[in-house]
């Protein structure tokens, strides 16, 4: 019987993996919720404002969209640490992932707000509805339906992108699996398993999305 540094994968690891799964879901939900709310606000402002405000906002968003997420994560975490405010990996990860999500969501929502034809808004106003009533009862409904599929697409990619938060030490699904791999030296089984988990998290959402989309079709 030889001595080994490595111990094979066992059922005892299930709890550890599940923690990773839950943490992935947790940070994804946080980023999607915050990113959606901020994205809706920024998208609305962009749809409603003049070209100067748009250029300013657009360039900030372009940076968030163009710089790879992994670099943003490392830069941000390192920088806040250097200036004396070290953040928990979850907090730092949530901030960056939310902003990153916001950058994409804002374009989605901007498109939604702009998809409502101007004459239809004028028609609503001509009925005596105020600007905000028109927004609340007409534009939001039509715009949100128009962008639901794109919103879901961004949300699903955020779940997958959340794997990158592993680089700053957050124990989500990928980092959990990396630790298991270094202990067990069974990368194939573990990575296939992790892939399946991401699929199990994402696929029902995408099915549900198709269902909702059919129901909401205008």
């Amino acid at each position: 019987m030889g001595f080994s540094l490595f111990t094979p994968l066992s059922w005892n690891d299930t709890g550890f993996i599940l923690t990773g799964v839950l943490n992935t879901i947790y940070i994804s939900v946080v980023a999607i919720v915050i990113g959606t709310i901020l994205g809706a606000i920024v998208g609305f402002v962009r749809a409603e404002s003049n070209k100067w405000v748009n250029m300013l906002l657009g360039s900030v968003l372009d940076i968030l969209r163009s710089v790879p997420l992994i670099i943003q994560l490392i830069l941000f975490t390192t920088y806040v640490g250097v200036i004396g405010y070290p953040l928990e990996p979850f907090v730092a990860g949530s901030i960056i992932l939310s902003l990153y999500t916001m950058a994409f969501m804002s374009e989605v929502f901007r498109g939604g707000f702009e998809s409502v034809p101007k004459p239809m808004q004028v028609a609503a106003r001509s009925l005596g509805m105020s600007y905000w009533q028109t927004l609340r009862y007409v534009r939001l409904h039509i715009g949100l339906r128009a962008v639901f599929t794109s919103w879901l697409g961004v949300a699903l990619s955020v779940i997958k992108d959340s794997a990158l938060v592993s680089v700053i030490g957050y124990m989500e699904l990928l980092r959990t699996s990396e630790q298991l791999i270094s202990r067990t030296q069974q990368p194939l089984e573990i990575l296939i398993g992790v892939g399946i988990f991401y699929f199990i998290i994402s696929y029902p959402l995408s099915l549900y999305g198709k269902h909702v989309e059919r129901k909401m079709a205008l």
Partner: protein
């Protein structure tokens, strides 16, 4: 009463209305005819405060439409407007389309708003379409929905902006019939229209617009049957063949 006094309106350098004077009394039907680009639709948009004016005044029941102190949302409750495009709200059923503004703007209860909507929809002949979505209806039906939706706000005036222009020819009749019905109900209306025969039939007054001014104004007999101005004669001979 709608009083339009010396109204000038420009889009940038382009002056579309060059001093318009017109009065519309309660119960009157006034038709505005003229070539495209003559400013007739713009005038309706100015009456409804959708467009600003640069000079002059528009007064609706003693309310100065473009005064800073005027609450234009409140003003628009008096003025129903129907457009060339029907602009049905696609996410709402026919009934909800007509009930939305009474509920949201007039703060009626849902039941009350639906009662009003049902009544107006039935009035325009859509009594069997309550639960349909607009996209399943013809243009003529959607245009009647737009009329019912405006009527549900119990406006004192109705403004019609070329409401039959976007319709297939066979659907024009049903919409014109609805307008005739409104006239018979005693509704005060301004209709911008290309339907000269219709204008002659229903109007108390006809205004012929040409390049931003009212070239000729009078009864249908005067303006359409016996026009005095050369431009009116030219226009009518073109549209009546």
């Amino acid at each position: 009463m709608i009083q339009i006094q010396g109204v000038h309106k420009s889009f940038g350098d382009l002056e579309v209305l060059k001093g318009i004077d017109l009065e519309v009394n309660k119960g009157e039907v006034v038709s505005v005819i003229g070539g495209s680009g003559s400013g007739k639709s713009t005038l309706l948009y100015c009456i409804n405060a959708i467009e600003k004016i640069q000079q002059g005044k528009i007064i609706v029941d003693d309310i100065d439409v473009h005064a800073k102190s005027t609450n234009q949302d409140l003003l628009r409750q008096k003025l129903g407007m129907v457009f060339q495009q029907w602009n049905s709200f696609p996410h709402l059923t026919v009934l909800e389309n007509a009930a939305l503004a009474p509920q949201v703007v007039l703060k009626k209860s849902r039941e009350e708003a639906i009662e009003i909507a049902k009544k107006e929809l039935t009035h325009v002949g859509l009594g069997d379409k309550f639960d349909q979505y607009p996209k399943r209806m013809s243009g003529g039906q959607q245009q009647r929905l737009a009329i019912a939706r405006a009527l549900a706000m119990k406006p004192d005036y109705m403004l019609f902006d070329e409401v039959t222009s976007a319709l297939d020819p066979e659907l024009v009749g049903e919409v014109l019939d609805t307008l005739r019905m409104l006239r018979d109900d005693g509704m005060t209306m301004i209709t911008v229209t290309h339907e000269i025969a219709f204008a002659r039939e229903v109007s108390d007054k006809v205004a012929f617009f040409h390049k931003g001014v009212i070239e000729e104004l009078g009864t249908p007999q005067q303006v359409i049957e016996n026009p005095q101005k050369e431009r009116t004669q030219q226009f009518l001979s073109k549209v009546l063949h």
